[in-house]
Amino acid sequence: MMISRKPVIQEIALRLDDHLTPMGFVRNRKTVRFCLADSASCIVVELQKSAKSNAETAIVAANVGLWNSTLSKRIGGPSQSDGLGAMDCQWWLRAGQIEDGQGRWWTAGAATDITALVGDMWSLLAPIVSLFMSLRSDADFLRYLLTIQGPFLDPMNRWAFAFALACAAGDGDAQNTARKALEEVGKTRTLPVGYRMLLQAAA
């Protein structure tokens, strides 16, 4: 018996629920997304169906996004966490990127052992969720940005985010550090209009 794509994805989501619900994530059944939101931030875990999926086989990736309210106000992008997809967030990672340097896609069909698949998926998702959970407050995120180059976070974005968060926090030292770093990046790459305006507004 063949299982159509949607039930397979729903089944994967159902098993992921076991990991994410205890952490406080709320599952959106329609979109196969899980959200952990407060006033400052939102973490989104979502299953992404590949365009290459068909009626019998689902090809699925798992993405995790970190959305920050302060960055949204100061830099732009989606202004509310409602309805956010992982890739709408300011920083997102696909399961597998940290370990392998590229995201993993899983193929699931009628004969697939979903429990094993989700176990494998969760082993790659857990470090990302854990990282983003530790960055939910502006202060923690700023501290991280100032000290660590996060995976698949472009240096230009890293320093723009740090600058915006430092400005919001009124942290002069962090602001200076981030400004210098961002200006340094700007010597070799064209900074987006928004980042240039951010620097000018604070000057």
């Binding site: 992404q48 590949s50 365009a51 290459k52 999926s53 068909n54 019998e56 086989t57 090809i59 990736a61 992008g77 989606p78 997809g85 890739m87 709408d88 696909r94 990127q97 340097g101 590229q102 995201g103 896609w105 193929t107 004969a111 180059q149 698949f152 472009d154 240096p155 230009m156 790459r189 064209t190 900074l191 987006p192 209009v193 928004g194 980042y195």
Partner: protein, 168 residues
Amino acid sequence: MSGAVEYLFNELLHQHDGTAAGQRRAMQLSGYYDIYDPPLEGIYPETLLVGGLTVKAGQGLLSLLATDGAVLAQREVAQVTLNQMAGNAFRDEIAGLFRAAGYQVETEVTKWTIFGRRVIDIDVWKAGVNLGGIETKWGGAVYNAAQQAKDAWLKMGGYVVNVVRGGP
């Protein structure tokens, strides 16, 4: 191997063999061939050479051929499906070239824009720096106005999308 091709390939094998053993063989093959690192002897949209067998697509038909060219199994496939398969194969081929050249690439990446979400075929990174996106177009596929508007908006944010075209 793309999901659609993989499925059709399995179906053709099953049709050819018609037994549970044939289906198991198809499952083994589909498990063996990783979708992003296909050990194919050659990959291009009209013909896929897989494990000594050939899958040939064209004129609304998908055929499984033996090494001597004999048709083992055949089925009709909607042209739109064939086009999609060709587009997916072309995208994966381009992504594979970048991977082989030492770039980190992600396929099917969504970008938020004020005009709505934009799905980028290939997102390219090198040494931790995001270099931009690639839109792959196979045959006469149109780079439409909505895509262009969204890409213009992304460009303002420092993300440049380049279009790569291929065709038979």
